[in-house]
């Protein structure tokens, strides 16, 4: 079996002090792992530990040297005013606009801040997806998504991911049930 893209063992993470853990999980190529738990339990803090903006207090966190990372945090909304087309956004993320679903392909030439809330959020998520990063971190990506957008994202996550692994924070049970290969309960 190949080396996991990401492996956490007895990981405790936080800011001034630990707020979550110890928790163990791993993400391998081709799988979607979901961190699940009540609001405030520290799921985003765990993602923060992977990204380096929260501290690891104990345990270990290893990322494969081959695993370049793309992420979309819960707070990473697009600015209210931004003169950038969807095509420019995807290109900025080093993605290929041609791989976008037709739903987004049709509005690639539009400024992202002129799209509907759901389209804007999906365009942002898909910009992260469209790149070549092997490890994808998504924090509550279904926020603001309309049912069509949510279904498109679920279709992608359920499809063949190839060499890519996904670590997902999500509190929507139906979405989690549809896309997760494994669910890690965080308390």
């Amino acid at each position: 079996m190949s080396e996991p893209l990401l492996q956490a063992e007895e990981l405790s993470a936080g800011y001034q002090g630990p707020v979550v853990g110890p928790v163990s999980f791993s993400v391998s190529a081709g799988e979607v792992v979901v961190l699940s738990g009540p609001n405030g339990c520290g799921k985003s803090t765990l993602l923060g530990a992977v990204l380096g903006h929260s501290r690891v207090f104990s345990g270990s966190l290893r990322r494969s040297s081959r695993a370049s990372l793309a992420c979309l945090g819960q707070q990473a909304g697009l600015p209210e005013e931004l003169p950038m087309t969807g095509r420019e956004l995807v290109t900025l993320a080093e993605g290929d606009p041609a791989v976008l679903p037709e739903y987004l392909g049709a509005v690639l030439h539009q400024r992202v801040d002129r799209l509907s809330g759901g389209q804007r959020q999906l365009m942002h998520v898909w910009a992260a997806i469209a790149g070549s990063a092997r490890l994808l971190l998504l924090d509550e990506p279904t926020n603001n998504l309309d049912p069509v957008s949510e279904s498109l994202l679920a279709d992608y996550l359920c499809g063949p991911l190839g060499e890519r692994g996904v670590l997902l924070v999500c509190h929507e049970p139906d979405f989690v049930a549809r896309v997760a290969d494994r669910v890690i309960e965080v308390r």
Binding site: C71, L82, P83, E88, L89, Y103, R114, S116
Partner: protein, 264 residues
């Protein structure tokens, strides 16, 4: 009209034109970073540096650049982000500038020039420094755009992938401090701030995309500059306030109709 073609105005004209073309590009990036107050902060600090230099008998332009550079270092050392630090910079710079101007007649004259925005005292040193600044900035702009947009729209990703984010931000801040200090010495504090703030703001409102915004910002900066230079010279008005007034009027362009968003 002959005034426009007087040799003595050529150096100020070309110097200002260079700055009017490139400064709005930095303004776009400041807006992306939500740090537009930095333009006013560095301009005040540079003004303080210039008047302090004049007071102490040091080269004015170098003193302005040095104090603006010190602002970048302080920002890095204090690890402060956003407009709070730049607001402090505005206040500290203004206080230092006014105090320095009160202590010597020469410094007072310089301080008044910085407030009035008289571009006509620009010399060959300013022109040379502006040309070097533009030559350094222009090849770096595509990379600065990519780095800072990526940092804003996909936060933490570059750090997690081991990219030198702090170095990139430092590079931008140093270029910004140098450009603003230089422009403040050439055309005054408020004209510099207006060139960084308004064209970018208008471009954000009306451009169809990022490339369009880059084009709009520089075009607006240059158009306002050309109109202000001619109007100020012909009507014998101080250049800075004329430029600022024209730029303020240009915000009417934000009312231009935009393509309707696609809703599906």
């Amino acid at each position: 009209m002959e005034l426009l073609f007087e040799p003595m105005f050529r150096v100020p004209f070309v110097t200002g034109l260079l700055l009017a073309a490139v400064l709005p590009q930095l303004g776009l990036l400041l807006r992306v970073r939500n740090e537009w107050l930095a333009a006013l902060g560095f301009a005040h600090l540079a003004g303080a540096g210039g008047t302090l230099g004049s007071l102490l008998g040091a080269p004015v332009l170098l003193s302005a650049l040095a104090l603006a550079g010190l602002g970048v270092l302080l920002r890095g050392m204090l690890r402060m982000r956003g407009n709070d630090f730049y607001a402090l910079m505005v206040l500290a710079g203004w206080s230092l500038m006014v105090l320095a101007t009160s202590l010597s007649h020469h410094a007072h004259g310089l301080g008044q020039t910085l407030i009035d925005g008289q571009i006509y005292f620009t010399g060959r040193t300013h022109l040379l420094a502006s040309a070097v600044f533009a030559l350094v900035l222009l090849p770096l702009l595509p990379r600065l755009n990519r780095w800072l947009l990526h940092l804003r729209l996909f936060p933490w990703q570059d750090q997690a992938n081991g990219r030198p984010v702090a170095l990139r931000v430092l590079c931008f801040n140093l270029l910004l401090a140098a450009g603003v200090a230089l422009a403040a010495m050439v055309m005054g504090v408020m004209a510099t701030f207006a060139l960084l703030f308004i064209p970018a703001w208008v471009a954000f409102g009306i451009a169809p995309g990022w490339r369009g915004a880059c084009g709009w910002a520089s075009a607006l900066g240059v158009a306002a500059y050309l109109a202000a230079f001619v109007a100020a010279l012909l009507a014998d008005l101080p250049f800075g306030p004329v430029l600022v007034a024209l730029l303020v009027l240009s915000i009417l362009l934000r009312g231009l109709p935009l393509p309707r968003p696609v809703t599906r």
